[in-house]
């Protein structure tokens, strides 16, 4: 098991792990993240499928950056989650995985999480002067009143409007 090998070689790097519905998940401290990535790369987890984030709105750390890896030789999947405080930067993986390039730009664009060491960290899906980061939980579903107002960003609806409320 890769989790035991990480624990043996990098003691203390894994804060927590679980396997809900068979999805192996480890939660890694931000400071040890690159060491863990180096280790699992050597273990064969070389296809970085996806990078995304979750806005948890918890007081101690707001975001969780979520990575999905696939080991092509053993067909095992691994999910790594890194807790991150608001405003903190996450180390970029572009130098090792080219697929991280756009994935990290998307997370930066939609969550406002900066990636340290990314060669071209610009918005990808939204336009350059778009105010705010749409996938944050405090961003309203209707986007505020972007097109009708002069003072862009100031007139956001106070609460997100729910389709099912």
């Amino acid at each position: 098991m890769v989790i035991e090998r990480i624990e043996a070689q990098l003691p203390g790097a894994i804060l927590e792990h679980h396997a809900f519905r068979g999805d192996e998940t480890i939660i890694v401290a931000g400071a040890r993240f690159l060491e863990v990535v180096d280790l699992i790369f050597g273990e064969g987890y070389q296809l970085l499928l996806d990078v995304t984030a979750v806005d948890l709105e918890t007081p101690e750390y707001r975001f969780e950056v979520v990575y999905h890896w696939l080991n092509l030789a053993s067909q095992a999947r691994l999910r790594i989650k890194v807790p991150l405080a608001e405003g903190a930067a996450q180390p970029s993986l572009v130098s090792r995985f080219k697929s991280a390039d756009w994935a990290e730009r998307e997370v930066y664009d939609l969550f406002g999480i900066p990636f340290e060491g990314h060669p071209n960290l610009t918005r990808l899906l939204m336009w350059e002067d778009f105010p705010g980061h749409p996938l944050r939980k405090d961003f309203p579903l209707d986007g505020g009143d972007l097109f009708c107002s002069q003072d862009i960003g100031a007139s956001f609806a106070p609460e997100a409007r729910s389709l099912n409320a």
């Binding site: 999910r79 756009w102 961003f139």
Partner: protein
Amino acid sequence: METTAKNSDRMIVNMGPSHPVTHGTLHIVLELEGEIIVKATPNIGYLHRGVEKLGEHLTYQQFIPLTDRLNYCSSLMNNVGYTMAVEKLLDIQDPPRSRVLRVLCSELARIGDHLVCIGINAVDIGAFTAFLYLFRERETIYDLFEMMAGQRLHSSFTRIGGLFRDIPPEFEPLCGQFLESCPRTVDEMESLLTHNPIWADRTKGVGSIAPDNAVNWGYTGPCLRAAGVPQDLRKAQPYLDYETYAFDIPVGTTGDVYDRYLVRTEEIRQSLRIIRQCLDRLKQLGPGPVIIEDYKIALPPKEKVYTRMESLIHHFKLIMHGIEMPVGEVYSATEAANGELGFYLVSHGGKSPYRIHVRPPCYPIFSSFDEQVRGRIIADAVSVLGGMNIIAGELDR
């Protein structure tokens, strides 16, 4: 976007956002020296609809129509991929007949997607005839979808725990006809393209990629297999009982546009094989339920809702309060026509997902566009773009 020094001799050419070869609204900024591409900057997001944000405010069932609009060339496969993710979260399995029908419609959708991809790729390069031949078959596939789901393009055919309905009796004869005519059309297409020297000149060696580089870029699906990596989730991590069907995985050698074309062509033939087995199995299985009978997850049948108190309550509870979801997170991946289509669901309980993320297969593939066309001519950019099968709907979400 990086910009070049103003006094350089480079010419900037905008391909798109509304250009005949960028099917969907894609924008690529090409920097040229003569006709050689020095730099290509894809500029995406024109079709961004905030699907993931919307998903956080909709119930699990209500998200299904949004999945139609991801890869609109094979919407049924997106429906199947999404409902399988929710079923994984709920830890339930749909009835056997529904599983066979899901395989059947996925493979039909795969053929449809590949036909469009090859046809469009050929049309962009100038081979208009093959496109017309292929679209005749695609029309039959859409007729079949209409019979199944009542819709041609935006099918929304699956439900959590099964399917919207069973196929009608007219489905099988038409599907049988399709199984006869489609191989002929694929042969015709091959006689038009495979040994056509112009097609070979335009596609061979264009966009070739080494296997380890393709993995590093996050390639999946036909583009990865064309590069020589035999990765197909239907074989590697079987779902929907794919391990019990007989089919082969075609693998290319160079990963260029020609190999991608050959891989897709062979996949069409293999999908036809699977469909034949599906029809046999449906006959063996006989009539049966296509959705689970757990009324806390799937709606009870209408006649029960109108006649029985309990069913009416179940119906009301499901519509108003949604399914009771366990707390947890799952990532579920299926082999869509373009590659690995993943859905990452985070549930904190409640009727809507806390976070829903789509991993579209063509997104990492398209991110390698600059590397694929750098140092080549504009005409090669057109054939590479076609060979990647970029679908703006799933690219931008």
